[in-house]
């Protein structure tokens, strides 16, 4: 093999190793230095000060028990639905009732969650508040929208091609 080629390949490998090493070291160091607090994202993303963070922290602590309570109710209702569906080959009236109750609980929980987002957004300055609310709605409600949109698109596709 040509000596120059060996030298260039060696330089290339060395360069790649230097680049990769510094890349992973920096990435690791950066992730390690970040705070593991639940609200750290809000502070960093929306550039919030200590006073705003203190108000949000209070709202957050008030919201968490309510959220946990709703989650427990939803989990219990899901268990009831599973029991109603267990061993049956069709959706019986009891299962339908449980599904409706579960949907109502989820809607109630979502409404409570959106209310919390609105309250949090109101503690922020106007522009970051609007951005926060839009982002939280996108992240929490967007999933269903995407699913529904994809399903309606596929249904429409089928209708166009009988």
């Amino acid at each position: 093999m040509n000596r120059s080629l060996i030298i260039l390949l060696g330089a290339l490998i060395l360069g790649a190793a230097l680049f990769g090493g510094s890349y992973f070291a920096s990435q690791r160091a950066c992730r390690m230095t970040r705070s593991a607090d639940d609200l750290s994202w809000l502070r960093a993303e929306f550039h919030l000060g200590d006073a705003e963070m203190a108000r949000i922290q209070k709202l957050h602590e008030g919201y968490l028990p309510k959220c946990a309570e709703m989650c427990a109710k939803i989990a219990a209702k899901k268990s009831e639905l599973e029991m109603a569906l267990n061993g049956t080959t069709n959706v019986n009236p009891v299962a339908q009732q449980k599904l409706a109750e579960l949907a109502a609980l989820r809607a109630q929980c979502q409404a409570q969650m959106l209310q919390h987002f609105i309250e949090v957004s109101q503690t922020m300055p106007p522009e970051p508040g609007r951005r926060y609310l839009a982002e939280m709605q996108r992240l929490t409600l967007g999933f269903h929208e995407q699913t529904e949109q994809s399903m309606s698109e596929s249904a429409g596709h089928e209708h166009h091609h009988p």
């Binding site: 030298i7 920096s26 992730r31 269903h144």
Partner: protein, 160 residues
């Protein structure tokens, strides 16, 4: 003893005539020849203008004498085939670089890469670029982690 002493003195005189400074290394003798008043090249290896024909033998003999004297004065004996090695190195250094078609640019690139200043600059650029990209990527990942952590607390998966 007396004769040996004279021989040594004579040898030292010959070397001093070529280059007055006495050096320690065995290779200095070859350097001294290349530092002669008239420079050597492929056509005229012998710097003596009176020996145009048979210059190789004459210069070989002269180099041999010089090296013998140098080795006697410098201390330990020269390694075997030292003289041939010296001539080979001189000829290699004087010979033009062989070009091998398409890989000339590769040799030029290798020479460029091997320059300490360029190699250091390249390594520095790579480290800085890697570190900057790593910090950027690490920040991005840390941000995503923090966002996911916040979402997991305020909006459990069953609601999304």
């Amino acid at each position: 003893m007396l004769q040996a002493g004279r021989g040594r003195q004579h040898g030292a005189l010959i070397i001093n005539r070529v280059v007055p400074v006495q050096k320690n290394s065995k290779l200095r003798a070859a350097d001294k020849i290349s530092a002669a008043p008239e420079p050597m090249n492929k056509k005229n290896i012998n710097p003596d203008p009176g020996c145009a024909g048979g210059f190789a033998e004459a210069s070989d003999a002269r180099l041999g004498a010089l090296l013998r004297e140098a080795s006697r004065n410098a201390g330990p004996a020269l390694p075997p085939r030292f003289q041939e090695g010296v001539w080979r190195r001189i000829e290699e250094a004087a010979a033009p670089v062989k070009s091998n078609g398409g890989i000339t640019w590769l040799d030029a690139l290798a020479t460029l890469v091997l320059r300490p200043r360029l190699a250091l600059a390249t390594a520095t650029v790579l480290i800085v670029a890697g570190a900057l990209l790593g910090v950027r990527e690490g920040n991005q990942m840390a941000k995503q982690d923090a966002q996911a952590r916040y979402l997991a607390v305020v909006a459990p998966n069953s609601l999304r």
